[in-house]
């Protein structure tokens, strides 16, 4: 499958994400924030970083980039979209996902190997995992606290839309230990930790993140 990775001004992990897409058995296609053309890709990754310097709010300005109009429209038709870290923030600002991400409750930037439980595995991004799989991938954020009102949190839990949850310590004050969520259909997934940094043994804590990039291929060949 062709997987587009969007570069915004201030994206940091776009190259790593493209690399992870390739290692996961898919073709990586570079997409540009100023284009409204998705180049015929089968899926899109919004990578981590500090798009537009995190000015105003994380993801608030990226949401209005020309490429996002195309992404929002295609996501509505079922295009798989994965937002990682800053990408997750952009998905929330775009209203493709509910809730918002605020500054870590302890106010410090956190960078560590984080244990997670993968809870929703019927999405195009997580189908390679067994339900309840416990994985370790890199987490690095300053504004990763997931918040939403109680009704929204109950809805996410009730509909099984919590994709990943923090194990051991909650690193950023996210409500109900939520590390990632999906839209109702499951094609749009937002995740605060970085699976693209855990796809090779040489770097990172292991290869537990690879599933996010092989799931698409498995789906294509199923």
């Amino acid at each position: 499958m062709k997987v587009g990775v969007v570069t915004f001004p201030g994206s940091l992990d776009d190259v790593d994400a493209r690399r992870a897409v390739t290692i996961g058995g898919n073709e990586a296609v570079a997409l540009w924030h100023g284009d409204d053309d998705l180049k015929g890709v089968d899926a899109v990754v919004l990578p981590g970083g500090f798009s537009y310097g995190d000015y105003l709010r994380c993801g608030a300005i990226s949401r209005f980039a020309p490429v996002m109009t195309a992404v929002v429209e295609a996501a509505g038709k079922g295009l798989p979209v994965l937002g990682i870290c800053n990408g997750f923030q952009i998905l929330c600002e775009s209203h493709l996902l509910p809730g918002a991400l605020i500054r870590n409750d302890h106010r410090k930037f956190v960078c560590r190997d984080q244990r997670l439980r993968i809870e929703r595995v019927d999405t195009p991004w997580t189908s390679a995992y067994a339900a309840g799989a416990e994985v370790t991938i890199v987490l690095k954020n300053g504004e990763g606290g997931f918040v939403a009102d109680e009704a929204t949190l109950d809805m996410l839990e009730g509909e099984g839309r919590v994709v990943a949850r923090y194990l051991d310590d909650n690193p950023n004050g996210s409500l109900r230990d939520i590390a990632g969520i999906s839209n109702e259909r499951g094609n749009v997934v937002g995740l605060m930790p970085h699976p693209e940094h855990a796809v090779e043994d040489l770097t990172g804590p292991g290869t537990d993140g690879l599933g996010f990039f092989t799931s698409l291929a498995e789906k294509a060949f199923a």
């Binding site: 105003l56 709010r57 608030a60 209005f64 929330c92 600002e93 509910p98 809730g99 918002a100 605020i102 500054r103 870590n104 409750d105 302890h106 106010r107 606290g145 918040v147 939403a148 009102d149 004050g173």
Partner: protein, 94 residues
């Protein structure tokens, strides 16, 4: 030219780590009166011509779509009596 001010504040139920950091610094400086701090943002928007209901309605839209995130923030719009430029001009003449 008029100035319209948009104040954006984190909703009361949303944790405000920045406000907490400011609050934590106050006792160290010997300020003991303040019991809570919430930190928000103030936007000053310059608008040509008169401020009509239509202009204010558009500013409300600006505030609701870009300047604030309704999930975590509230906003208030008000028209500044004197623009910043006018105040600076007055101060210069005084």
């Amino acid at each position: 030219m008029a100035t319209v001010v948009v104040d954006v504040m984190p909703k009361p139920e949303i944790l405000d780590p920045q406000g907490k950091a400011v609050l934590g610094a106050l006792p160290r400086l010997g300020f003991d009166l303040v019991t809570d701090v919430r930190q928000g943002k103030r936007f000053e928007l310059q608008v040509d011509g008169e401020i009509t209901d239509a202009v204010l309605a558009e500013i409300e839209q600006v505030a609701g779509t870009l300047l604030s995130n309704p999930v975590i923030e509230d906003f208030e719009v008000h028209v500044e009596k004197h623009s910043v430029a006018e105040v600076a001009h007055e101060a210069g003449r005084a």
